[in-house]
Symmetry: C2
Subunit: 251 residues, 2 copies
DNA sequence: TCTTGATGTCAACAGCGTCAACATTCGTGA
DNA sequence: TCACGAATGTTGACGCTGTTGACATCAAGA
């Protein structure tokens, strides 16, 4: 299992946004250079250090040595900025999941590692995670890119479920439904941990996470009399289901 | 299984806050009479109809025919008002869970019904649910009452787990851990449904919920070679674990 | 009747997101 | 090289928000 320090180094590599220092606009310059990028990075930094609810456009601007309304040249409004942050979050999550899965040759262990990596991502990037899921980004601001990135992250999970089914490790239920079930569990643990409902995040959260992975294995194991579901058919449909994937706009 | 209409009637009975009309202060009167209660009800109504983020103290005040600052005589600030709303939510949730469990003589069916009732509560009172869990109530505003009410709701689940263990339906793991595991699942489903990540809430959410309850049964069933845990000991400790329960302040 | 505490009002404040008008700079074709 | 339009950043203003301190009103007990 990964240690915390390994993961830190790993996330720094996957998510340079949080580690690199965003540059201020030189006082003698009128244009910033790459303000859009800088705004995104500064917003993420503020969110990670102070929380979404304390993010103000004025502060972000002044931190970059730029006026409070400069942002409107790059984002339609605050919601759009948050949506962009959330989009980046889903991308980082997807990379983290894929990396955790591919780190070992053993597909079974890789699958379990994904579960651990998911919760660890959420806890490590808790504020970021809340932007992705906490309805801070209103439905109207969730554009095609946002939905696509969220769906892509979910697809990694569905793909792995199908893989596990092919290998005979997982019962042959609808992969979509199975994936949603597993997703609900890790998402639930992550949210409870983030919201401080599990007491000490590190200890209780870790213990619960380990236990959950063990229980999930039992829950999704192949049972006798298993009615096979058409895996290939379902796997190919991932993403283009009419409103089934994550980031969906209807509620 | 309960129909939606049955549940509506049920919640109206359990949660009069949402159904009764809050009375305005008569224009010729200086004092309102029971402003605290009215503020709570009006805040909840606004939250349920317009969402937490659209709750403003000014609107609440003017709706009750009262000045915008009258609120400060009953709540220290907006956070305290939200905390009070959240507290009421946990109480309602606890009653809903107990009622769902006790509606049938069959303890196994009752246990499953709790899971369904949990998600249904969250979806039906989605905005209320988000106040309870979404960190809209900051840690500092979570007073003893809030934590106690949240813990009490969790205790219902733990108690039922122990009951199921005694009846031989559930494996003899630590009831606390088992309860947290189950809680994570229903909480995860609820949050994903509420946040619109499951597409159509009613259809996909219902289907996922049914599937989850079935899978949970497999996950927590007694297995051969089950190492018994001291149930009675763990059950008596519920609630006074140092920071283990829900609503805990540390993060 | 007087006093005291509880409750509600009023005016003001700073901070917020957003907009319209304006300033500066960049890129590009003549 | 130069002019011109597009892109980018600034300024001032607006209405909204939560919160505060000084003041007004009322109920209840001494």
């Amino acid at each position: 299992m990964l240690t915390v320090s390994t993961y830190r180094r790993y996330t720094d590599r996957m998510c340079p946004v949080a580690s690199r220092r965003t540059k201020r606009k030189p006082a003698d310059r009128y244009h910033h250079g790459d303000l859009r990028r800088a705004l995104l990075e500064e917003a993420l930094r503020t969110i990670q250090t102070r929380g979404v609810e304390h993010l103000t456009l004025r502060t972000v601007g002044s931190r970059l040595g730029v006026s409070r309304t400069a942002l409107y040249r790059h984002f339609s409004d605050k919601q759009a900025l948050l949506a962009a942050v959330g989009l980046e979050g889903f991308r980082t999550l997807r990379l983290a999941l894929s990396a955790a899965r591919d780190r070992t040759e053993d597909s079974r262990a890789g699958f379990d590692a994904m579960g651990a990596a998911y919760v660890r991502f959420a806890v490590t990037h808790s504020s970021h995670y809340r932007v992705m899921f906490g309805r801070f980004v209103e439905s109207s601001a969730r554009d095609a890119g946002f939905v696509a990135e969220a769906t892509a992250a979910f697809e990694v999970l569905v793909g792995s479920v199908v893989e596990q089914q092919r290998a005979g490790f997982v019962r042959l239920d609808d992969p979509q439904l199975l994936a949603r079930f597993i997703w609900s569990i890790v998402h639930g643990i992550a949210m409870l941990a983030i919201d401080g409902q599990l007491g000490c995040v590190d200890e209780q959260g870790e213990a619960l996470n380990r236990y959950a992975i063990e229980r999930i294995r039992t829950a999704i194991a192949v049972s006798q009399g298993d009615v096979p579901h058409d895996i290939d058919d379902a796997a190919s449909q991932v993403g283009d289901l009419p409103g089934g994937g994550p980031g969906s706009r209807n509620r």
